[in-house]
């Protein structure tokens, strides 16, 4: 059996997976395209307009803004498009000339304040120690002083200083908050592994700061700059309005100051104060729009929320049931219906991303029997977690259930099974946790840190068992905690007082509290040590014999499943490639992938077996060819494997009736072309 295994060239397989087409330029293009959301485009357009006015404003102004005329306080007319002031000055000219001063002060102050914030923030965050503490104290002092009153006081001490004074005052009052943001970011960068790795390779301290960390701060700095410009434009207007901006030059704030001095409001001269106010509001809006857009790009979480919004309509549609009548007799044949608790048919889940549809779960069908542990194994990215989430219908956008059916048979004698995909939202929330509960890999880290164990456990009882008394609920909490092997003295402990293993046990107890008939476990022990993992697995084995619930146990650790599961489904590239009894899969793996997975882990007892592994890496789920997805990595490939996809069918004798396998080696039509003894699963490798 080992002699026929011919590993393919790993380089060939890995190259195919590394998406060679994605060059840097196309990546950048995609990024900028993703960044140009409608809000960013609108913001840039408005800001661009004002920048142009700031440059050419003084040249296109129809009049000298300071020249007084006899036409006092006139409304908009052809001669004075925006009317005149109390002293007969042209409002449009004042506005056009004032744009330059306002924008100049805003951008200069923004730049100076950003520079201050970067200097103090990075120094504080990257050098650390005493420097950090002193600079933090300085930053905090400036933070607690309200900026506008400070600016007013400062401006009063620099009388008639004009724009330069304004820039100094605004940057001195605005930098502190940004410095703090940048410090926090720099602190987290300093702790990153790649900075540690650079240090371990002998990099000097200066280069660590300026080459390895500061470039990663640029996005944050850019956003802080925009925020500071916004702050500057508002502060400038505020100071000038109070008459602290120097009255010698024209700016939007100055115009408001004069309008207020000359009681434009009470005289109804709206044309005097509305235009500068509108300009300030427009520039502020444009900066805010750009900031939101940039935030969305830099924060992937906000981005997926956007995709979620655009997908909501389609996700809400009930998926079409593609299950044909022949499927009932398909993979499930041989099992009496009464034994089947959950029937998954032609289940397909797709991630609708910007880069195209990722078909994470493709046409998956299996049965979960009463009281069994069904293991689902596979490498990361094979779709096993997506499948688990979708079965519970807690998949998050952009994941969408595209088709298939989920039939649940709560009791063996129930006439009609319940279709979980078409049930109402109200039924679904009742069914969830009551009938089907989940334990996640990170469950131990997702316990609420401020709630004690007892309240974590009674939480779902409060909503699902409203008629129970508090005593009954607490008694049940103590009962399930004892079930998972934790003493009652821990009921009032908080999550941080428990070890990782105990927290994971609490998460399992939470899943069991309503006595569900299905418990889905997604890598529940992967984050734990082997000793703790062993204890939890033994506990689970006892519990499911006592409570008779069924388990779908998802893990990448096939050796764990061989010991713990009754049946195992092996997934590859979103589909099940082999499904059968655990001991059968261990002794006679039928699919070359299962065979390969079995040779990936060394054994600790007995003579050391050959560890072979699987060359290459899984395919890109965005562009699956119409072929066996395992074909590039397979040591047994036939000519037919590159031409179409194998279907999940019964294996050849002696695997008949025992194992379902998706591989042409087990296709009767290919039998003639196969040399004897080549088919995996036909010779025992135990």
């Amino acid at each position: 059996m080992t002699a026929v295994f011919q590993p393919t060239d790993p380089a060939q397989a890995t190259t195919a997976a590394a998406t060679p087409a994605a060059s840097l330029s196309s990546r950048l293009w995609v990024n900028t395209r993703g960044m140009l959301t409608p809000s960013v485009i609108a913001g840039l357009a408005i800001l661009g307009l004002f920048v142009v006015i700031a440059i050419i404003g003084p040249y296109i102004a129809p009049d000298d803004p300071s020249a007084t005329t006899a036409a006092i306080l006139q409304g908009p007319s052809l001669h004075h498009l925006l009317g005149t002031t109390q002293t007969g000055q042209d409002v449009l000219s004042e506005l056009l000339v004032g744009t330059r001063a306002s924008m100049l002060v805003a951008f200069l102050a923004g730049a100076v304040a950003t520079a201050l914030a970067v200097l103090i923030g990075t120094a504080s965050g990257l050098i650390g120690g005493l420097a950090d503490e002193l600079l933090s104290v300085l930053t905090n002092i400036f933070l607690v002083i309200p900026a506008l009153p400070l600016a007013i006081v400062l401006a009063a001490y620099i009388p008639n200083g004009g724009e330069i004074a304004l820039v100094i005052v605004i940057s001195a009052t605005g930098w502190s908050w940004s410095a703090r943001v940048i410090r926090v970011q720099a602190l987290s960068l300093r702790k990153r592994d790649y900075v540690l790795a650079a240090r371990a390779s002998g990099e000097s301290r200066m280069r660590l700061i300026f080459v390895d960390t500061v470039p990663d701060l640029l996005p944050v700095i850019a956003i802080q700059f925009l925020s500071l410009v916004l702050f500057a434009i508002l502060t400038e207007a505020g100071l000038a309005f109070l008459g602290l901006g120097g009255t010698g030059s024209w700016s939007w704030g100055n115009m408001l100051y004069w309008a207020s001095e000359d009681t434009a409001w009470s005289q109804g001269a709206w044309w005097w104060f509305v235009p500068p106010g509108l300009c300030i509001a427009l520039v502020g809006t444009s900066l805010a729009l750009i900031n939101f857009g940039a935030d969305e790009v830099l924060n992937p979480r906000l981005r997926s929320a956007r995709i979620a919004r655009s997908n909501r309509a389609s996700a809400a549609e009930p998926p079409s049931s593609a299950a044909g009548p022949e499927l009932g007799a398909g993979p499930a044949a041989g099992d009496s219906d009464a034994d089947v608790l959950l029937e998954v048919r032609n289940f397909t889940v797709t991630y609708r991303t910007d880069d195209g549809a990722v078909r994470a779960v493709r046409d998956v069908s299996f049965d979960l029997h009463r009281g069994e542990v069904l293991g689902i194994a596979g490498e990361s990215g094979c779709g096993k977690t997506t499948l688990a989430y979708a079965i519970c219908q807690i998949q998050r956008p952009p994941a969408v259930i595209e088709g298939g059916s989920l039939l649940y048979r709560p009791r063996a004698d129930a006439a009609a099974p319940v279709d979980l995909l078409t049930m109402t939202a109200e039924d679904r929330s009742k069914y969830r946790w009551e009938e089907m509960a989940v334990v996640f890999q990170s469950a131990m880290n997702s316990l609420n840190p401020v709630i004690d164990v007892q309240n974590q456990l009674t939480d779902s009882l409060t909503s699902h068992r409203p008629d129970w008394t508090k005593q009954e609920r607490n008694a049940r909490a103590a009962e399930v905690l004892a079930m998972v092997g934790i003493s009652g003295s821990r009921l009032h402990s908080y999550p941080h007082e428990l070890s990782g293993g105990m927290r994971q046990r609490v998460a399992i107890a939470m899943a069991l509290v309503l006595e569900p008939s299905i418990v889905i476990m997604d890598e529940p022990t992967t984050a734990l040590d082997v000793v703790v993992q062993r204890e939890i697995i033994e506990q689970l084995t006892e519990l499911r014999h006592a409570l008779k619930f069924s388990v779908i146990f998802i893990t990448h650790d096939l050796s764990l499943l061989f010991e713990f599961a009754d049946r195992i489904a092996v997934m590859y590239a979103g589909s099940i490639v082999e499904l059968g009894k655990a001991d059968r899969l261990y002794r006679q793996p039928a699919h070359p992938y299962t065979l390969g997975l079995g040779t990936c882990f060394p054994n600790v007892s007995g003579p050391l077996k050959t560890v072979r592994g699987i060359p290459g890496s899984p395919p890109d789920l965005r562009s699956l060819p119409d072929a066996c997805p395992f074909e590039p990595r397979c040591g047994y490939r036939l000519p037919v494997c590159g031409t179409r996809q194998p279907q999940l069918t019964f294996g050849r004798p002696p695997l008949h009736d025992q194992t379902l396998v998706a591989c042409f080696l087990h296709d009767p039509e290919q039998a003639a072309s196969l040399p004897a003894g080549l088919i995996p699963g036909q010779a025992s490798n135990a």
């Binding site: 998406t19 840097l24 592994d193 650079a198 002998g202 470039p215 990361s380 092997g485 993992q533 990936c600």
Partner: protein
Amino acid sequence: MPDGPVLEASELTKIFRLPRTAANPLRQQTLRAVDGVSMQLFAGATAALVGQSGSGKSTLVRLLSQLEHPTSGTIRINGEEVSASWGRSYRRYTEQVQIVLQDPYASLNPGFRVGRSVRRPLEIHKVHKTRAEREAAVRQLLEQVKLTPPEFYASKFPHELSGGQRQRVAIARSLAVNPKVLLADEPVSMLDVSVKVEILRVLNECRENLGLALLYVTHDIASARWCADTISVMYAGQIVESGPAEEVTQRARHPYTQLLIRSTPDPASGQPANGAKPEDGVTQGSAPETVGCRFRANCPSAMAKCAADEPPVVPLSAGQWVRCWLYAPENGPPAG
């Protein structure tokens, strides 16, 4: 190369000060993360360090790489005692001792192309005179870790590579300066099952071809058996058992090593023996006991002596030794 160890640590101890708690603000609590560990790494050999998380094995790696400094104890490289943290002496140390970190998704600068990450150590240590020589060296390093064609991978950003490919890049980077010692801190624990084997093979090949002294730190004793010459088992900051890989895994003496082996999933072993199951699970944190044997609270064979005195280091055959009272000469031949 003389027969002595390339890297030798003697009696390394690292004590961390814990933050004062609100309940007991006056008492400064400390944590002995690494407690009197001695270790020798030889050229061309792989030593495995096995332990649960919190056993102090990562701290030990940081001490050995001089990223942190021991509270007491010494590190010798080629017989010469070294203590350096920045500057030229540290740079010279990194020329000899390199480290591969656990998480390949975090250990490469996301803004640097692969070629730049691998080339950087060559520039820092001025290994080559000309740019062309450096480029050739980068190509050769990438080929060494089986990233072929090297030109293709050198132009990639980390996010364009899979976890296994990234870890190969990290290995290539650590080999750039031609180190004598490679400290691999859980190099495969974040990777997929099928990739783990490949990465361990690459490490093994590099050790063989370059005569590296390799320290393989892991929580998986089965993989240590497969790829290491010697295994040291660490518990609560101390090495409790050490010896040739086959001896330690097939004739484990320390009750903790036995528990570790029993707990490892192994379909070949049939049904696992039921070990002691202490209530609330085995304590994971470091130094659960400060006097006597650290493991005694979880040990099925604990005796009165284990609580009173520190267990002795008992030498066994074939270079194996164990830190346990069960095997002390005055106890006669061990019962278990």
